[in-house]
C-alpha cells in the first residue's frame, strides 16, 4: 500500500521526485505516472533454462536492430479495417449499384483501390527497429513520421486477434507506456514470431544480477516463452493471449524463476447466458434497424397501409388480434434477449482474469480475442454495480477506472475490457474475493462499514421536488383535459414521492483507513470505492437550493474517471458534515502519498 515504505535497496528511489536523476527519465507532463520505470530493477538471467523454443535476449536485440517491416498480410488487414469503417457506405453502394446506379459502384471501387494502395504504401514504408534502447518506428515517404519510444518506458505489449489474424498467425500489436492515454504505437500487423522477438528484447535483461525479482521473472519468462504462449492461442478460446508487461521492481521478495500466475476469475458460459438474459443489450438493435430501414427506404413500403393490409390476415376479432399482438410482442422479446445473449458471448466468451504478480491479465472474446493488462497500481476506482434484475439472480458487474485511460471517450475493445467491462458478470458472493485481488489488503465488507447517510431534511426536500414535478405533469395533462391532468398528476405524485423517499435513503458513504466508499441508486445500485492515494482533489459544491436547505455536495475527483459510470458525488449532506469530511478526506489523501509505483 502506498503508505508503506518499499523495501530493498531501491527504497530511496521510490519515494518521489526528490532524487534529481529520476526526473530526467520522466516524460514531460506525465505527472501521475511518475518515474515508475526509472527505479526498476530489471530481472536478471543468471541461469537461462535450457529450452529449444527460447529466444535469447541478445539474439532478439540483434535481430531487431536491422530495420524490420510489418507482416505482408498487413496490406490485407489495412484494407479490411477501412472496409469495416465504411461498411455502411459500402453496403449502400452495393444496393445502389444493384438498382442500376453505376457511379456509386465506380466510386466504391476507387475507394477500395485507394485504401489498398495506402496499405501497400504503409507496408513498404514502415520500418521499426530497436536501437540504443529505443524502439523506433518510421513510416511514410512524403509525410514522414518518426516515433521513438524508450524501451524502459514500455509497459505493455498487448495483442488483438480476430479469426483472420489467427489464420495468418499474426496479431495487431499495441504498445503502451505508463502515462499515455492511448497506446503509444499500434503496429498492424506483426507476425507472432516478431512479437515474441519484440517481447524478449524489450522485457528481457542480460546483465547478471544475483537477485531475480519475482515480477521481473514473469516478464522475462513471458518474453522468453513468447513463442509458446502465443501459439497456444489457437488451441482454444480459453487460452490467454499472453500480454507481457513490466511490473514494479524493488518490492516483493526475490523468488527465483517465474511468478506463477493464478486465476482470479473465469466467467462461465452459463453466467454469460444469465447476464445476456437480464440485460437490455438487444435493444441496441433498434436504432440500427431504424437507420437501415431509412437507408433502404423501407418506410415507403411499410407506411403504405393499403399494400401492407393486403398481406395481413383479414377478419380477426379483437380477441384474436390481441392474442396475435401478444405473441408478436413475445417473439420480439425473445429476439432481443437472444441478441443480448449473443452480444455477451461475442464480447466475453472465455473471459478470464489472471494475476501475475502486480499485473492483472484479462482476455476474452469469441472471434476477436482481446487481451489486456491492468497493472494493479494503476487502478484508481472500483465500482460494483447491480441492476434490479441482476440483484434478483445474484449477479454483479465490476467496473474499473485505471490511469492512463482516455476516460469514457475513445474506448476501443481492449481498453473497455480493462475498464468498463472488467468483470462483465460475476456472482455476488465472489465479489469480495475478486476485489481482494485488485488491491492488496482490500477487504470489501459493506455490512461491516460505518455508513453515513444524507441530511435528515433530504426526504422532505426531495418530496417537495416530487410534488412540484407531479403538479407540472398534471398541468401538462390538463392541457388536454382536466380529467387526464388529474389522473396523470395523482399517479405522478405517488410515483415521484415514493422514489424521492427511496432515493434519499439510498445515498450513503463511508470512509475507512485507506479508502472511501459511496453507494447510490435504487433500481441500479452502484457501490464504488476509491483509495486515498488515488484521490486527486476534493470539492464541495453548494447550489442556491442547497444553501436554503443547509446542504452541500461532496465531490471526490480521481484520475481517468468515466468508464465506471459512477462518481463519488455525495449530494444532500449537511453543510458542516460536507466541509468536515472534505477536510478529512483531503488530509487522508495528503497522508497517503502517491507511491513511486502507484500513479
Amino acid at each position: 500500500m502506498a503508505s508503506e515504505q518499499p523495501e530493498g535497496p531501491d527504497g530511496a528511489e521510490t519515494r518521489g521526485l526528490q532524487v534529481p536523476g529520476e526526473c530526467a527519465a520522466t516524460e514531460a507532463g506525465d505527472g501521475h505516472a511518475g518515474t515508475d520505470t526509472a527505479g526498476f530493477k530489471k530481472a536478471s538471467v543468471s541461469e537461462a533454462p535450457i529450452e529449444a523454443k527460447l529466444i535469447r535476449v541478445a539474439d532478439a536485440r540483434k535481430a531487431l536492430q536491422g530495420p524490420r517491416r510489418l507482416h505482408p498480410s498487413s496490406i490485407l488487414f489495412g484494407v479490411l479495417a477501412t472496409v469495416r469503417q465504411f461498411a455502411v457506405a459500402a453496403i449502400l453502394a452495393v444496393f445502389l449499384a444493384s438498382s442500376g446506379n453505376r457511379a456509386a459502384l465506380v466510386a466504391a471501387g476507387l475507394a477500395l483501390v485507394l485504401t489498398a494502395a495506402t496499405a501497400v504504401f504503409r507496408y513498404f514504408t514502415l520500418r521499426y527497429r530497436l536501437s540504443e534502447g529505443e524502439l523506433r518506428i518510421n513510416e511514410g515517404l512524403i509525410f514522414r513520421r518518426h516515433r521513438t519510444i524508450p524501451m524502459a518506458r514500455i509497459q505493455n505489449i498487448d495483442l488483438v486477434q480476430n479469426p483472420i489474424h489467427r489464420w495468418f498467425h499474426v496479431a495487431e500489436v499495441s504498445i503502451e507506456t505508463a502515462g499515455g492515454s492511448e497506446p503509444e504505437a499500434k503496429l498492424r500487423v506483426l507476425g507472432l514470431e516478431d512479437v515474441a522477438l519484440l517481447r524478449a528484447a524489450i522485457f528481457g535483461e542480460e546483465e547478471a544480477d544475483s537477485e531475480v525479482n519475482a515480477v521481473g521473472g514473469t516478464d522475462r519468462s513471458a518474453g522468453m516463452q513468447g513463442g509458446d504462449d502465443l501459439t497456444s492461442v489457437e488451441s482454444g478460446a480459453g487460452a490467454i493471449v499472453s500480454a507481457a508487461s513490466k511490473g514494479p521492481s524493488g518490492r516483493g521478495g526475490s523468488r527465483r524463476g517465474a511468478t506463477p500466475g493464478h486465476l482470479v476469475h473465469a466467467t462461465t458460459a452459463a453466467q454469460l447466458l444469465h447476464a445476456g438474459l437480464i440485460s437490455n443489450r438487444g435493444l441496441l438493435v433498434i436504432p440500427v434497424a431504424l437507420g437501415l430501414g431509412s437507408q433502404l427506404d423501407l418506410e415507403r413500403y411499410i407506411l403504405d397501409f393499403a399494400k401492407v393490409s393486403r398481406y395481413l390476415p383479414q377478419d380477426y376479432t379483437w380477441q384474436e388480434a390481441t392474442l396475435w399482438g401478444a405473441v408478436a410482442f413475445a417473439v420480439l422479446l425473445v429476439l432481443f434477449k437472444l441478441l443480448s445473449v449473443g452480444w455477451y458471448f461475442w464480447r466475453f466468451f472465455g473471459h478470464r482474469v489472471e494475476r501475475h504478480g502486480d499485473d492483472l491479465r484479462v482476455s476474452c472474446g469469441l472471434f476477436t480475442r482481446v487481451s489486456a493488462t491492468v497493472p494493479r497500481r494503476r487502478i484508481q476506482f472500483i465500482s460494483v454495480q447491480q441492476t434490479w434484475l441482476s440483484r434478483w439472480v445474484g449477479l454483479a458487474v465490476i467496473r474499473l477506472e485505471t490511469a492512463g485511460g482516455a476516460g469514457a471517450s475513445a474506448e476501443d475493445a481492449k481498453q473497455s475490457v480493462a475498464r468498463r467491462w472488467f468483470m462483465p458478470v460475476i456472482a455476488q458472493h465472489e465479489v469480495a474475493r475478486v476485489l481482494a485481488e485488485l488491491r492488496p489488503g482490500l477487504e470489501f465488507e459493506p455490512d461491516q462499514l460505518v455508513w453515513r447517510a444524507t441530511s435528515p431534511a433530504t426526504a422532505r426536500r426531495l418530496t417537495r421536488l416530487a410534488v412540484l414535478r407531479a403538479i407540472a405533469l398534471g398541468g401538462a395533462g390538463c392541457l388536454h383535459s382536466w380529467q387526464l391532468g388529474l389522473a396523470v398528476g395523482t399517479a405522478a405524485l405517488i410515483w415521484f414521492v415514493y422514489f424521492a423517499r427511496r432515493y434519499a435513503k439510498s445515498l450513503k458513504f463511508a470512509t475507512t483507513e485507506h479508502w472511501v466508499v459511496f453507494r447510490s441508486g435504487i433500481l441500479t445500485r452502484k457501490i464504488s470505492l476509491t483509495f486515498y492515494d488515488k484521490i486527486q482533489s476534493v470539492a464541495t459544491l453548494q447550489s442556491p437550493f442547497d444553501r436554503r436547505w443547509k446542504m452541500s455536495t461532496l465531490q471526490i475527483d480521481t484520475a481517468a474517471a468515466g468508464p465506471a459510470q459512477h462518481q463519488i458525488a455525495v449530494k444532500y449532506l449537511p453543510r458542516e458534515v460536507a466541509e468536515q469530511e472534505a477536510d478529512r478526506v483531503a488530509w487522508q489523501a495528503s497522508r497517503h502519498q502517491i507511491d513511486q509505483q502507484n500513479i
Partner: protein
C-alpha cells in the same frame, strides 16, 4: 463470505459525526489527534483574496461585452420599435423590455465582477491548496499539495497591463484536472506557483 446484498436491505444508522473513535485501526486515537491538530492549523490560516485590481479587469471585459451586446440590442429594438410604432402598447412593452435588459447587462458588467471578487478566496496551508469561489453555486476545491502535477502562470494582454496573472494548477483528476485562480497580482502568482511546486517534493507520506 460476505453477502453483498446486505448493505441495501439493512438500514444502517448514520453515526453522529463527532464520533472520532470510529477511526479504524487507531485504538489510541493518536491519528485523530494528529488530524485535529492539522485541521486546526489549517483553519487558522486566513483566507486570502485575490488582487483588487481584478475587479477592474472584470469590469473592463464586462463593459466591452456589454457595449457590443447593447449595440446589437439597440439595433434590434430600434427596428422593432419602428415596426410597431402604431401599436402604442407594444412599443411601450418593447421599450420597457429593452430597458430592463440593458440594465441587466450594465449590472453584469459593473456589479458582477465585484461580487465575484468578494466570494473568491484561496488559501495555502498544510492540508493543501484551497479555493473558494462562486456566488450562487459556491464551490470549495481542495488540492493536496502532493497532487499538484504542474502549474501555469499566464497573462492576457489586459492582465499584463494591470500587472495581474492567472495561476492554473493541474492535477491528475478528471473533473478538476485544472484549477484556475485568476486575478492574482503577478508577483504573488509566481510566489504561489513556486510554493506549490516545491512543497510537492518536501511533503512526505507518513
Amino acid at each position: 463470505m460476505t453477502d453483498f446484498e446486505n448493505p441495501y436491505e439493512a438500514e444502517p444508522i448514520a453515526t453522529p459525526f463527532e464520533d472520532a473513535s470510529r477511526e479504524e485501526g487507531d485504538p489510541s486515537g493518536t491519528q485523530w489527534q494528529d488530524e485535529q491538530r492539522l485541521l486546526a492549523a489549517q483553519a487558522e490560516r486566513a483566507w486570502c483574496q485575490v488582487d483588487a485590481r481584478s475587479v477592474t479587469l472584470g469590469r473592463i471585459t464586462g463593459w466591452i461585452m456589454t457595449l457590443v451586446l447593447l449595440s446589437v440590442l439597440g439595433v434590434a429594438l430600434g427596428s422593432l420599435a419602428i415596426a410597431t410604432w402604431r401599436v402604442g402598447w407594444m412599443g411601450v412593452g418593447v421599450g420597457v423590455g429593452g430597458g430592463v435588459l440593458a440594465l441587466v447587462l450594465i449590472w453584469f458588467a459593473q456589479g458582477w465582477p465585484a461580487m465575484r471578487y468578494r466570494y473568491l478566496h484561496y488559501r495555502l496551508g498544510p492540508l493543501g491548496f484551497e479555493i473558494r469561489r462562486g456566488v450562487l453555486w459556491r464551490r470549495q476545491i481542495t488540492v493536496p499539495l502532493s497532487r499538484v502535477q504542474h502549474t501555469d502562470v499566464s497573462q492576457g494582454p489586459l492582465e499584463r497591463r494591470l500587472g495581474l496573472g492567472r495561476l492554473v494548477v493541474y492535477t491528475a483528476g478528471t473533473q478538476f484536472a485544472s484549477v484556475e485562480l485568476a486575478g492574482l497580482a503577478f508577483a504573488e502568482a509566481e510566489q504561489l506557483r513556486d510554493a506549490l511546486v516545491t512543497s510537492g517534493e518536501v511533503s512526505d507520506g507518513v
